[in-house]
Every structure is written in C-alpha cells, then in structure tokens.
C-alpha cells in the first residue's frame, strides 16, 4: 500500500497552480489536505504523475460575509468551518453537519475545496452545498467561472471541475431571516460516512412554510435535493400528514443502490426517516420571517 513515484511541486498562487495544471494536464492532481487523495494513491486507485501542493496559496482560509452571502476560501479546513462563529450564526446547519465529518484529526487536515472536489455522495459538505444553493468558483489559467452547486456534482467522485481547474472559493447565499434548520445522519459508527443523511431548512410565516429545502446524502450518485417533497411542504402548516407525505415523496424521489453496508430498500427507508427528523427540527427552529 505505497503510492508509485510522483513529482511534487509547490504552487504559491492560484495563477501558479493553474499554470502547472495547464502544463501537466490530467497527469497532475492538486493536493491540499490529502485526506482522500493520499489513501487513494496508497491503494493505487489513482496514480498522478505530479502532485501540485496548493496549501501555500494565500489566503489559506477565509470565512467572511459580503453582499448577502458568506464567502469561504477553498483551503478552509473543515475544523475552521465547524468552529467559525460567523458560520454558527448564519448557517448553524453547516456547524451541525461539520460535526459529522469523520474525526477531529481528519477535520483538522481536510479542506472544503478538497471535499467538494472529491464529491463523495455520502459526504456532508456536498449535500450542504446543494442545500444552500452554493456557488462554487473555479479557476483555470487565464480565467475563472462559477458553478452552481446543483450543476457541480455530476456523479460519484465526479464533478464539473475540469482537469485544468481548481476550486478557489464557495459562496453561500444567506438564508431568509428566521430560517430554521435540521441535520440528521445515520452512520454505523461515529465518524463514518452516513448510510444516509438529510439536511433541511424551513422558513415560515404566519404558521405556514414559505420556503422549504431538503438535501439528501448517501442515497445516490450525488447529493440531491428532494424537490417534490419541498413542493409538497411549501405553503403547508407542517402537520403530520403533510410531513408524512413529504417523507413518502423523499423515498419515491431517490434511487439508492445496494452496497455492503445497506440495501437500497433500507437506504430509501432511512432517507425518509432522516428527512422527517430534519424537517421537524427545522420547523421547530424556524421563526416567523417577518420578525
């Protein structure tokens, strides 16, 4: 379990990193926290000829608010996101989700850009990006573009980021005032990838939901939004029947597969249960939007 030989270069700026990527093409992989890439290299599942170390690109991690969104640098460690007072205030759902990301040692090393690009369908951050309609900025030599979270994840471990691009930041548009939130995940062991998980936000006004979002992890090739369930609940009073119907819609809207740890049937069942729990929490935490 040793990686084959590779070249190692350090890029200190985005321009330098993208120039290197342009030079080496798909023989190169950027490395930051290395929490997914290094194990994959040790298993020889990937064998990049060149590793471009992007950790020195400044600023290393930034979390700041501007113009109706919170902007997070791609090199921000999971732990920084987890402990950020700004995130805890604006996006408590992110703080809650981060606690489910592996173990402290991994959160101290892993970066959010790395997690998004690794695109494990059971990972928390991709589901959060989809939930919050994140905009993900990527750079390549001589250019930059922004990808909506819904377009970012193309398959398991597969994203819209090109071989010559790196993720530079993620922008989370602020939620409406008073938005409630919920996050529930079920894993066999503390710190494992969830067998399934659900994140929700709910905004309400005069006892009715004005905006509902549900994102699911671990139930398919990519994190998904449960649009049908969202539509059922929007405008509802979140009564037991409405929530039960939404859970049915969650289950009907996904197509999980069997794997070693969970059958498709069980995952589908679990997604409904966790979505109900996340929705109940979100509804309970939501304040009236007018306030």
């Amino acid at each position: 379990m040793k990686p084959p030989a590779f070249e190692y270069v350090v890029a200190e700026t985005v321009e330098e990193a993208t120039a290197r990527l342009a030079e080496y093409g798909d023989d190169a992989r950027p490395i930051a926290g290395g929490q997914s890439l290094v194990p994959m290299m040790n298993f020889r599942l990937v064998s990049p000829a060149v590793l471009i170390d992007i950790r020195k690109i400044a600023p290393p991690d930034t979390i700041e608010e501007a113009d109706g969104h919170v902007r997070i640098g791609a090199l921000t460690r999971h732990r920084a996101l987890e402990t950020s007072p700004l995130i805890a205030d604006r996006f408590p759902v992110v703080t809650a989700a981060m606690k489910h990301v592996a173990h402290l040692a991994i959160r101290n090393r892993g970066t959010i850009g790395g997690s998004l690009c690794h695109a494990d369908p059971a990972a928390e951050l991709p589901a959060i990006a989809v939930l919050l309609d994140a905009r993900i900025s990527v750079a390549r030599q001589g250019g930059e573009r922004t990808i909506e979270a819904r377009d970012f994840f193309e398959g398991a471990l597969w994203t819209a980021v090109g071989d010559d691009e790196i993720v530079t930041r993620i922008d989370l548009p602020l939620l409406p005032p008073g938005a409630g939130w919920g996050f529930h995940e079920f894993a066999r062991r503390h710190g494992d990838f969830g067998l399934a998980g659900a994140a929700a936000t709910v905004t309400k006004s005069a006892g009715r939901a004005t905006e509902v979002r549900i994102a699911l992890l671990g139930v398919g090739e990519t994190p998904v939004r449960a649009h049908a369930a969202e539509a059922l609940l929007t405008g509802s009073d979140f009564g037991p029947d409405a929530v039960a119907a939404a859970a049915v819609a969650v289950r009907d809207g996904i197509d999980p597969t069997d794997d070693l740890h969970a059958s498709a049937d069980y995952r589908r069942h679990l997604a409904g249960v966790l979505a109900e729990r996340a929705l109940a929490d979100a509804w309970g935490r939501a304040g009236n939007g007018a306030s």
């Binding site: 040793k2 020889r44 079920f186 062991r189 049937d265 069980y266």
Partner: protein, 803 residues
Amino acid sequence: MSGIATAGAADVARPGIVGARVQRREDPRLLTGRGTYVDDRKVDGAVHIAFCRSDRAHARIGRIDAAGARQAPGVLGVFTAGDIDAVARPIRATSNMPDYRATELEPLARGKVRYVGEPVVAVVAENRYLAEDAAGLVSVDYDPLPEVTDPEAALEDRALLHESAGTNVIAAREFARGDVDGAMAGAAIVVEDRFRIRRKTPSAIENRSCLAEFEAGRQALTLHASTQVPGLLRDALAEIFDLPGRRLRVVAPDVGGGFGAKASLYPEEVVVCALAMRLGRPVKWTSDRMEDLTATSQAFDEIVRARLALEPDGRFVALDADVIGDVGAYSIYPWTASLEPVQVVSFLPGPYRLQNYRGRVRAVATSKAPMGPYRGVGRPISTFVMERLVDMAAKKLAMDPAELRARNLVRDDEFPYKSGSGIVWDRSGFQDCLRSALDRFGYAQRRTEQAAARNEGRLVGIGIASYAELTGIGSRISAAPGMPINTGTERATIEIDSTGGVTAAFGIASHGQGLETTLAQIVAEELGVRVEDVEIIHGDSAAVAHSTGTYASRSTVLAGGAATLSARALRKQAIEAASYLLEAAEADIEMRGGVISVAGTDSSITLRELARAFYTEMRRIPKEARESLELSASATYDPFFGTTTGATHVAEVEVDPQTFGVTVRNYVVAEDCGRIVNPMIVDGQVHGGVAQGIGAALYEEVVHDESGQILTGSFVDYVVPSAAEIPDMAVIHLETESPSTLGGYRGMGEGGTIGAPAAIANAVADALSGLDARVNELPITPDRLFRLIRDAEQRKGESRYEA
C-alpha cells in the same frame, strides 16, 4: 466504571504484590511511542518483499510473466513456489484426530490458488515502494476453477478445493452423551433455530510483520516476527528448514495485539526466512492493512442448527446441534482447521446441568483466508447459540430468563461437574456470577423501567449470557487436541545477577496483555523482592528451552505457575546463601522487598549485598556452598488439566425503531478468574474483550461475494467498533479459589469476547420481543434489523415501510 465486589480471602489476609493494582510497566514505553515493533527494527542492507497475491478465489496457475518486474529499478529477484520449495518443506498441520485431513500449505501457491489474497509471487526490492512498483509488472495467467465459496454447497463436494483430500470436509467430529433422541421426544418443550455467525478478522492494530536475518558465518537464522508464539515458530522453522534449533532464533519484540491471529505460522514468515538465506540480505515484510484484512487468519464463521429440550419446570433435558464451520482454504499450522468449529460443539452445553447431548461438526474448506484462532475460539458462537436457545425457551415457558438460568447452572455443590460434551468443570462460581451480575445491573428495577419504556414505544431490551471456558490448559487435555505440539507446559528461569538484579525469562510472548507487569508481580511476591527489581524477558525463543507462547488464556496460569515454582526454588537458595552471611539458620531468615533478614533481629542484608558476596567477594561464602548453590532457578509448570473460568454478562440495549441503530446502554460483567494478580489489568482485558464481542455482535463481518472476492479490504468496509460505540461497563470480580492451578489463577484474556455477542443478541431479541423476530444471525447490522423487523411486521400485516 469498574468495581471490585469481593476480594479473595488471600487478599484480605495478605495485601501483597499479587492482587495489587500495579500500573503496567510497559505502558510508559508503549504509550509514548517508544515501543520497538518488528517494523521499527532497522537493519543495514535490509530488502523488502511485496507479494503478488491471487485475485482469484479458485484457479489453476498458468504462466507467470515476471520479466518486466525482474528488470524494474531496485529489484533483487522475483520468486515463485519452486524457489521456496527448494529450501523449505511445505507447512503441514497434522493431527491424529479421526476424520481429519491435513492439507499442505505452500508458502507461495503452487499449481493453483485457493483464496483471494493468497501469496503467489514474492518480489524483493531495495524498498517497499520499488517492490510494489515491480509487483505491478508481474502478470499471472489463471485458469478459473469452479467456485467453492458457500460452505453448505461445498459440503456436496461437486468441486474440490484440495483434490488430495478427496472431500471439502477436512475435519469432522461428533460428541454424544445420553439419549438425545429419547429425551427430545419426551420433552415438554423444544426450541430450535438455525444460527449463523459471520466471518470475522481479529484486526490487531499492528499488522503482521517479519524480518529474517541470516548470518552466513554462523549459518544462523534470526526471525523477528510480530507473533504470539516465538517458540512454536522456532520449532516449526527448524523442521521446515532442517536447521538446528540452536542456530534458529525467533524474537517477538513489542507486538501490537494478536487476538489469536498471530498464534499461527504464516507463509510469509517462511518466505522471508527462505529468501534471507538465498539472498544473503536481511529480508523484511510488513503487511499493509489490505493484506491483513485478506490474508491474516479469520474466524467465527459457522452455521449451527440447534435444538434444546426442556421440562415444564425449565430443566434442560437435551441439546442437539449440527455445526458447519467454514474453515477457509487451508488448515492452519499448528492448530488445524478443526480448532474453531470443534470448540463450538465442545463448549455448546455451557455451564449448565445437561446430560443428553449430541454435537456434530463438519469443517468445510472454502475459498477464503484460512480460519484460525481468534479470542474466544468457538465459544463466542457456542455461547451465542446456547444463550439464544435459553432465552427462546424462557419466552416459550413465560419464565424470567434469569430464573431459567439459575435453575440450570451447575451449583457449587455439584463440582467437579462433567459437561454434556465431556469437559470437566473443576469449580467456578457460575451461580455467583449470575447473581452478582444481576445485582449490579439492578435487574428487577431495570425490568420495571423497561416495561415503562415499552409503553412509550421504545425498544429497550435486556440480555443475559452465562458461559464457562477452560483456561490454563495443561498437558492432559491439550489446547490443541491431537496435534503434535505440547501446549500444556511453560518454563521460567529466574536469576539474580552479580548486581542483585533479578531477571525472569519466559517463553510466553506478551502482546498487549501486560504480562511484563503481572509476571513481575508474581515473581516479586514469591521471591520476596520489589516489583521494580524484577526484569521480565519474554517473546524470545532463546530465553527458555521450550515454549509455545501466549494464546488460549494460558500465560498467567502456566507462566505464572512456572514463575512461582522457580521463584520459590531461587528464594530457598538465596536464603541458604544468606545464612552464611547472616550467621543464622535458614528457618529464621526471611526475604521481603529485596531485604534478607533474620526474623526478630535488626540483622539484614540487601539482595545486592548478597549478590556481591556470592559472585565477587569470594571469601564470605564457603567455596563448597558457592559451588552447590546457584542464584538461579528454572522450573516447568504443567497444570495437567486446567481450570474453569465462568462469567455472566448482562447488557441493556435500545433499538431505534426508525433507523434500526442499536445502542448498548448498560453493560455488566461478573467474572470468576480465581485469584487475581492485577485487578486493573483484568478490568482492561474484560473491557477490550467485551469491545471485540460487541464488534462481533453488531459490526464486524468479512464479506465475500459469490465468486469469492473479498469485499471488506479496508477499515471503511470492515467495521470495527470505535471507543464511541463501547459503553462504560461495570466489572465485578469473583475470586473463587481454583483447586486446579498453582496460585489459584485462572485464565481470563478471552472471556469478554465470549459473553458479549450472546448478551447483545439476547438484548436485541428482548427489545424486539413484541415481534416474532428471529435474532439468529450476527452481526446484527442496521440493515439486517430493518429486514428482520420488516419481515416480522409484514407477517403480522402491519408494515410501516414503503419499500
């Protein structure tokens, strides 16, 4: 949270070194990264092996193309079966057990491969990176052979894994006592089921590792190996390489866990030795985790059909069981493929009064890693099956499961008791363990709380498991029945050197149990010195003339016994030598805390002074005495039969009725391991054993697909519980005097793993008792529980599940 409920009479009378919570002397080293494991051993000129392992479960080996690998940078050679055969005899685990068929294990596969992960080609290079690069260039042609993966299908012998055996059933045995059929026919009630426990791998934190160094000048071979059995390996390798034992040394330095998986001889160990001799360079191989999960011995893979018959008052009258053990591709040396499944039928009657018993076992070879010993060996399965049957019977009789056990556990006045399978329980607090565990658990109160929780729709369950095991087994019955090794004795040599230092040498090999501490306590107490004065040598075949090592809950009993005998002999000689210096009669001299004194006087000398007088200051002790005495003693201890260790575990679990997650809420162990050397270490052993048992019950499973591919090649997929999944537990120690062992010690290293799967399974079944759900398969994963509950509810026509 742990507690000591009772202290043995010996403890109260004499709060000595034995029985004290002495801190583990190995911990400062091991916990601060100063341990020295095999892989830490850096030797000039060492080269490294990467193995090309079979990616087929069952196939004939065709052409092996290693031309590219031989040319690769840093490669010293590429070797196949023929290269090793030229210098090494095949490994053959023999036994005189009837219906046992030995299978030869070639260090590198010859002719065909029989499991995914079997070593086929050894690539040797200057470092492991280059070796792996070159291994990637080797291509092996395989001609597929029919699958032999399902143990029940393999019984039919449509395809054979070992043609020479003529059958896939490589061991079979039957125990029968009394009139099972008659008792079954006449019984008031019978409970039965088909039980399945899925394959485990012991997963020690340190992967296997070995380093062979051959000194051409002395024609001497030294193997450093991460093993529990250095002496056993030395003896085996001496045969395999036809080398005299005095020029063959096997050293187990610090070893990071074994759990039985490091108690066997492995092909890789033979290969490093063969190639070190051939290449004239030290040769190292350190397993990576994937190799460990695929090619280290696996365990606990059985299908058991069992029936228990009872009288209306709950008395057990008959037990009948048929066991199929999936023993994997080869019969492991020295234990053979029979070890694990035969123990299932040997121990199935448990600590209960039961005279009509029939247990039949067949060990079936399949295309999987060989089955070997794993903490508990067979007894986690026998206990799971028997204890489930007891709870099923209690439910059928509408009797409290604790009461049903109390009615059937062997009582104190019935020892020694010969069990249904012929095992003799010498004496153990079976009833005491049950009572103490229930008391500490607060059984009656918790049953009340459980009823209240159930009324709220919560699935709370309580499970009990009682078991008994034989530990410290001596030469009369053997831990390895029919096998040509002696597991019944251990030897110790204790010496006082010229500085007064005490060194005690053993053949056992501590690999995490704290034996450096416990043996030092025994030596210190028996000799009359301070614990810190005693150095313990272990894990080295050169330390004593014969030893097999540490396994089968034997080291405290056997090595502790040898320590006791040799310490007593040494003490006698030291006192005799001191008698010349103190000018007193031996009978008046005592030795305590390293000081030798004349009773009732202030006349004394230290051990250091004695040693100086004995070895250096030649005029102080007469020549004749110095020549006839020795400040050294050796002894061998043989417990002959061995002794009984019993315990009761009580678990409380809660099942989430929606996610099917199982949380272990409370856990109590009451165990009787006789006289305790170090309660803190016993606590730790119980905690760790229970954790592994919880793993067996809820998490761990080696999975193969139909074609024999292993799907659990990493710790992402082979799920071992972490600290977060393990509850606090209360441990109660009973110290029933063992009449059978020197010092009254009993083995206890495995017990936690034996009781926990059954206790958890019973607790989960109890949580689901409102449903007709058959909890008969381990591990109880959330997905299995989902299907179990869905199926049960669908039978009742009240499904809540969309799928």
